[in-house]
């Protein structure tokens, strides 16, 4: 349908009256209750809030891996609710890079092949894929570690491989769910610097959930999620 990068939307992300509730047995657990949010391209946003407040839920909705109970979510020019599962998958491949707290690398694949995964969904040939993977690994400071398996890397290195994987296909948006949550302060610092560079130099829009006020300070803006609504 639309390309999403230059179609005239002022915002990269727009949420209108987004609700999400979970059913647990007979109970309905309301998590998000009428979220309104606009994010301009190139922003670096931190999302904070108490544990269980729905930060991950919100991030997942924006990243197109979960569906709201009610409301509209437009990201990169698409209204996510209107996309079929396969189109949504293709949309994710094109527009979103995910970074998780626990890295979520595939243990049986080397760093190179982990980073290559998103490129397997493109038409790129093997040589071009190799070039881009090496570029991405270089960007996160892991050149020469292509052949290492996740278990041969430290936590900080694993997270950097995960970041390389998130950016290798050049997505519009990076969503990071507590990317430093499992790292010591030194490694956390390196990851944050890296995210900041991705935002400044490569103009990636970043949405980062964090518990750490220091981490949040790197962002342009901090939003707080509490009792199902956002405030700044």
């Amino acid at each position: 349908m639309t390309d999403g990068r230059g179609n005239g939307d002022a915002y990269l992300i727009s949420l209108r009256d987004v609700h999400k509730e979970y059913r647990r047995d007979a109970f309905v657990v309301p998590v998000l209750a009428g979220i309104e949010l606009d994010v301009a391209p190139g922003e670096f946003l931190a999302l904070m809030g108490p544990s269980g407040s729905g930060k991950s839920t919100l991030l997942n909705l924006i990243g197109g891996i979960d569906h709201p109970t009610k409301g509209e979510i437009r990201v990169a020019g698409e209204s996510l609710g209107t996309l079929s599962p396969s189109r949504l998958a293709a949309w994710r491949a094109r527009h979103v890079g995910f970074i998780f707290q626990l890295y979520n690398l595939i243990p049986v694949l080397t760093a190179f092949r982990n980073v290559e995964l998103p490129l397997l969904l493109t038409r790129l040939g093997a040589a071009e894929r190799r070039k881009r993977v090496e570029l991405a690994l270089g960007l996160v400071g892991l050149e020469g570690r292509e052949g290492h398996y996740p278990r041969q890397l430290s936590g900080g290195e694993e997270q950097r491989v995960a970041i390389a994987r998130a950016v290798v296909a050049d997505p519009t948006l990076l969503v990071a769910d507590e990317p430093t949550g499992d790292l010591d302060s030194k490694n956390a610092e390196e990851i944050l610097v890296l995210l900041q560079r991705l935002n400044q130099e490569l103009k990636k829009t970043i949405l980062m959930v964090t518990h750490d006020p220091h981490a949040a300070e790197r962002a342009h803006k901090i939003l707080y999620l509490d009792k199902g609504v956002l405030r700044s």
Binding site: N60, S86, L102, N104, R113, L117, P118
Partner: protein, 382 residues
Amino acid sequence: MKHLGYVLSHLWHSKRRTFLTVSSIAVALFLFCTLRTVMTSLDAGLRASDDTRLVVRHAASLVFPLPLAYRDRLAQVPGVVQVGYGNWFGGYYQEKKNQFTQFAVDAPTLFDLYPEIVLGPAEREVFLRERTACIAGQALVDKYGWRMGDVIPITGTIYPGEWPLTLRGIYRASTPDANEDAIFFHWELVNEAMPEGRKNLVGIYWLKVSSPSDAPRVSAAVDAIYENSPQPTKTETEKAFQAGFIQMIGNVSFLLSILGSAIIFAILLVTVNTMMMAARERTTEIAVLKTLGFSDGLVLRLVATEAMLLSIAGGVIGCGLAFGIFRKVNFTAGGMFPNFRVLPETVGLGLLLALMMGLLSGLAPAIGAARLPIASSLRKVA
């Protein structure tokens, strides 16, 4: 194709699982090929038998011989056009394990009774003339590397001693169902060497009748003649004779097939379970792939491909081994299955079965993976 690397990485990284799964599927298919070959070789024996040939034997058992004197009387029974006879020799060549069919036969009538045995006229003539000559089937000759004129020493068990036979003819079978792994030589040779009490005894008579419809009448007539003699006979068509023999084995192989099917089914269940466990261990990983934009369909294919590769590998190994081994060792189960050959169609069916096992074992985990909801699968277990 570029996704194959991912699948292979998984197989490579769980070497033990891969090895065990492939092995058990290989065992299942080896078993399948073997059991089916038992059936097909029995069938071939039946097809090769001729409705116009009757077999006359001692009514009590094949191990009791009949007098040679019966020959002339049998020839007079209306409907009989030819009478031949022979003794099962039951020896071996060089070593006990080299067993194959050896028949001491009334050579002059052999080719009339068994037109399936194809031999050139010159070779036939030399064979008939020479007392110690023998003819052997092409397959047997190939197996032991004999040449025309070779002296083949056969060690007797029923007829003790060393029997040097000269190879004077190599016969071919006129139909693929008939076999080429027997030796025929002169009944006279054996008979002459026997002590007084064992002379002039015949293991079985073969009667040629003019048409299959004569068979019941001739059988009844023959058995009636000797009904009250010290050596009563049992006469039946070669097909019935074979079938009786086969029924005995057939009951066993029916039992084996049931056991075999049960084993194959059990292995299938184990494989399904293994694949499901493998997929379940990978719940997070599959959710991650989907997050990266792998579609449900692609994830389904990846998981299914893994199961298929395991099954196909197992199938190729199992069927290949069955095909190769029985050919190499020329397995006959001590002569019970003279033509024990794993047919190409058996291999084909085996591979198809492997493919189906792959599909079945991959189906549930593949569908599970395709349906896996992303967000909740990524949540750390709360």
